[in-house]
């Protein structure tokens, strides 16, 4: 029988009285507005009845397209969506992604299929829950928890974000470009921003710290298209939330909104092109994530990169670890598995990022060094996390900068340690290459690593600090593909970037896994996508791209770093800039303003970023100039490595810096 007729039930007007999070009436969750999508008429009818019995407001439809149009027409008309996995007109996971991107509603998947890989797919795609048919009413009774939980995290996230930027005094980096909201928030004017939001039909300010209600930005089709246009205009590698926001020019939209949407978008793109990656990553992703920071990093997801950058507090170590992780992962994945689309999209020229083997490196090395330093690690914390235990190789990298080449090696080593690492190490042979690691991560990393011969030495020394990062990075292992590239960039900053590269790498890996792992996914996705970009960034090897990234370090050339950051999505916190003086650990480069701030930046960022440490948008490497010079000298694979190490050494006790405390982003929503 065709449910068609019955499926389209008039959508009740927003009655969601309890929707506004702040109002939790006695009857909660009565009135929860559920949209249920299933092509099976029998199930659909049963679900409808069950949900009605739970006192929810139910709208059913049997076609995914219809469901989407429902959702688009009625922004804020629903609280939660339940969808079947197997549908004739559109795959349930695809619908899930659309909803996540456009409407940001929690989606519950269901199916008669209970095989592990399908359930895992649900997890990685961001489903809030997965129900096995036949669905019992008991299972439906509690779906409201997902709505509340999501809101709670978003609110927290917003708050955090705001408070982070506002309250962290040491957040120099607080990116000036931060949305006005931030500034207004700083003034404690969150309410205003909120109000402003409310006026906006489409955009609800998320940061409404003033009340529980968490206004949510509704990404309508138009808004999303504006967003996509802006991203395309900027270029994937340059698509930082701030710039996107500026391009979009939508009043009431915050950078945070854009940042989190960007994450999702990247994840979505990644999925489009590289579903396979997930699989790889899945296994790994959950690895090594011992670090809390790691988690936090992922949670940073969405937190503004800038904030992270600003925080710059992220200890170099953290970054390093992240990077290392990323690197490590990337190494494994070596081939940036970025989906083709994404690659194109991001036009990262991933290949470029890769560490140019040998000679190129030299050229890049300069850049690389920069990269390391302040790798514009736009790496968002997430990405760092994704980097998945970058610590191994990557971390070594960052940290190493200061220390002797050994560090480099260690960094590289770390990278190599993880499976992918080997690749990195190869590539990273050059001392300077350390930074390169990220590159190698991608694939070239290994060559780079090997070059520097870091593999052996680095392992020991670097590893420690890196470990932190690695844990983080591990996430990305799965993703490795993307992460690799990504991490690589992070790590590439010889100076401090090494960590960054890891991140980049990890990111990719993480991306896929991130979802599953913890809040990361979202973050990483972006990174992953960024990977191609990041590659430039950290991976000097790749050459061209790397150059750009390197530059920043050197002179704090923003563009380069920014590029890197963007590309990599590395929340620059790691960035390398730090390497220079301070332990590389703090790659966080918050928008590169703090050039001399490398250390703090990274560290703070990490910390403050609340997860988005990496979100250092194209930050310049703070101590770029200083390190740059150093690095410059060394450029060249070996040189780079040594330069990196030197920087590390100069930076000071790198290891200590690395403690990624910054990563402990507690509010990172998972």
């Amino acid at each position: 029988m065709n449910i068609g007729s019955g499926s389209l039930v008039t959508v009740p007007s927003s009655t969601g009285s309890w929707k506004s999070g702040d109002v939790v009436s006695d009857q909660f969750p009565v009135g929860l507005r559920v949209l249920v999508v299933d092509d099976d008429p029998t199930c659909l009818r049963i679900l409808e009845k069950m949900l009605r019995n739970c006192h929810y407001e139910v709208t059913k439809c049997n076609r995914a397209e219809i469901a989407l149009s429902f959702l688009r027409e009625n922004k804020n008309g629903f609280d939660i969506v339940i969808s079947d996995v197997h549908m004739p007109d559109m795959d349930g996971f695809k619908l899930l992604e659309h909803i996540g991107l456009e409407m940001d509603l929690p989606v519950i998947m269901m199916s008669a299929d209970d095989s592990k890989d399908v359930v895992m797919k649900g997890v990685t795609h961001g489903a809030y829950d997965y129900l096995i048919k036949p669905v019992r009413i008991e299972a439906l009774k509690n779906i409201w928890q997902h709505v509340v939980r999501k809101r709670k995290y978003e609110w927290k996230d917003n708050n955090f974000d705001q408070s982070g930027s506002v309250e962290e005094g040491d957040r120099q980096q607080k990116p000036s470009e931060d949305v006005d909201y931030s500034s207004s928030a700083n003034e404690g004017n969150w309410k205003n921003s909120k109000k402003r939001k409310e006026e906006e039909e489409e955009v609800e300010d998320r940061d409404d710290t003033s009340n529980l209600k968490k206004p949510r930005v509704v990404w309508s089709v138009e808004l999303h298209q504006q967003f996509v246009q802006a991203v395309h205009q900027l270029g994937i590698d340059k698509a930082v939330p701030k710039k996107i926001l500026e391009l979009m020019n939508v009043p009431g939209l915050t950078r945070e909104n854009v940042a989190s949407h960007l994450q999702k978008y990247r994840l979505y793109l990644r999925r489009l092109s590289g579903v396979s990656q997930h699989q790889n990553g899945l296994n790994n992703s959950f690895m090594g994530h011992p670090d809390a920071t790691f988690c936090t990093i992922s949670s940073l997801n969405g937190l503004d990169l800038q904030a992270l950058a600003a925080a710059g507090q992220i200890p170099a170590q953290n970054l390093a670890t992240l990077q290392a992780a990323a690197l490590g992962k990337s190494a494994t994945k070596s081939a940036i598995s970025m989906p083709l689309d994404q690659r194109n999209f991001f036009s990262f020229e991933n290949s470029k990022l890769r560490f140019p083997e040998g000679p190129q490196q030299l050229n890049n090395s300069n850049k690389q060094i920069d990269l390391l330093h302040g790798i514009p690690t736009t790496m968002e914390s997430k990405q760092l996390a994704n980097l998945h235990h970058p610590s191994q190789s990557f971390v070594g990298m960052n940290m190493q900068v200061n220390s002797t080449s050994q560090h480099n090696n260690s960094v590289l080593m770390r990278l190599s340690q993880s499976q992918p690492r080997t690749q990195l190490l190869n590539g990273a042979n050059n001392g300077s290459q350390v930074s390169r690691l990220p590159l190698s991560m991608q694939q070239s990393l290994s060559p780079v690593l090997t070059q520097s011969g870091i593999v052996d030495n680095a392992r020991g020394s670097v590893y420690n600090p890196v470990s932190q990062a690695s844990s983080m990075v591990d996430f990305s292992v799965n993703q490795s593909k993307e992460l690799q590239s990504y991490n690589f960039s992070l790590g590439s900053n010889s100076s401090g970037m090494s960590s960054l590269t890891n991140q980049g790498m990890l990111q990719e890996e993480v991306n896929s896994d991130i979802k599953g792992s913890r809040g990361f996914p979202s973050n990483y996705d972006i990174f992953n996508e960024l990977q191609p970009k990041s590659q430039n960034w950290g991976l000097q090897n790749d050459g061209s791209t790397f150059d750009a990234s390197l530059h920043p370090c050197m002179q704090g050339t923003q563009d380069v770093s920014s590029q890197l950051l963007l590309q990599q999505g590395i929340s620059s916190t790691h960035n390398s800039g730090q390497n220079r003086n301070a332990p590389i650990e703090k790659p966080m480069y918050s928008n590169g303003d703090e050039i001399g701030h490398s250390n703090t930046m990274c560290g703070s960022q990490l910390n403050s970023g609340g997860g988005n440490m990496l979100a250092v948008k194209a930050e310049r490497f703070p101590d770029a100039d200083h390190q740059n010079t150093n690095i410059r000298e060394q450029f060249g694979r070996d040189d780079l490595m040594s330069a990196f190490l030197r920087q590390q050494a100069s930076v000071g006790p790198v290891e200590t810096e690395f403690g990624f405390d910054g990563y402990t982003l507690d509010n990172l929503p998972v």
Binding site: M1, R45, N53, S111, A112, P134
Partner: protein, 160 residues
């Protein structure tokens, strides 16, 4: 027949359906969903199930009749049949779907045809049984009585 007798027959019949595995706990869930606002809920849903299943079985027959069988399509149909039969509690029908899917994976047309045959049989049996049950219900209602609630319990022990 007088109401009491009808009711007893109903209960026994229901119990046997549970016991013999034609229906499972999910069917009880459906019964519990029925209320005054939806007095014919179970009949409605089961009717939907019948319609949908017959359509699917036809599609399956056609799909397996092709010179080049599209096993993915076949599998999709079986999957849906599994979902809907499990949702109404038609346990034996659902159970037939599992080996059927295996045959699809192996891309074994012969085996699939056998599975199809079996599932058709189970479906017809289930349909038959349920219709008998509904008829009994109608008779009870017509005789002015209330339909007894028969609870399914795991050990097939039924309680009233």
């Amino acid at each position: 027949m007088e109401v009491g007798q009808l009711q007893r027959s109903f209960v026994e019949y229901m119990a046997s359906l549970f016991r013999e595995g034609f229906l499972d706990a999910q069917f009880s869930q459906l019964q519990q969903l029925q209320d005054d606002s939806n007095p014919d809920f179970v009949v409605e849903v089961v009717s939907l199930f019948f319609e949908d299943s017959e359509r699917l079985l036809n599609d399956l027959t056609m799909a397996l009749d092709q010179p080049n069988v599209d096993f993915k399509q076949v599998d999709a149909h079986v999957h849906q049949l599994k979902g809907s039969s499990s949702s109404v509690g038609a346990q034996r029908v659902k159970n037939c779907c599992i080996p059927f899917r295996n045959c699809c994976e192996e891309q074994n047309t012969e085996a699939c045809l056998r599975c199809l045959q079996q599932i058709k049989q189970e479906y017809l049996l289930a349909k038959n049984k349920l219709q008998t049950l509904f008829d009994l219900e109608q008779q009870i209602v017509a005789a002015g009585g209330a339909i007894p609630m028969v609870q399914y319990s795991n050990d097939y022990g039924l309680s009233l």
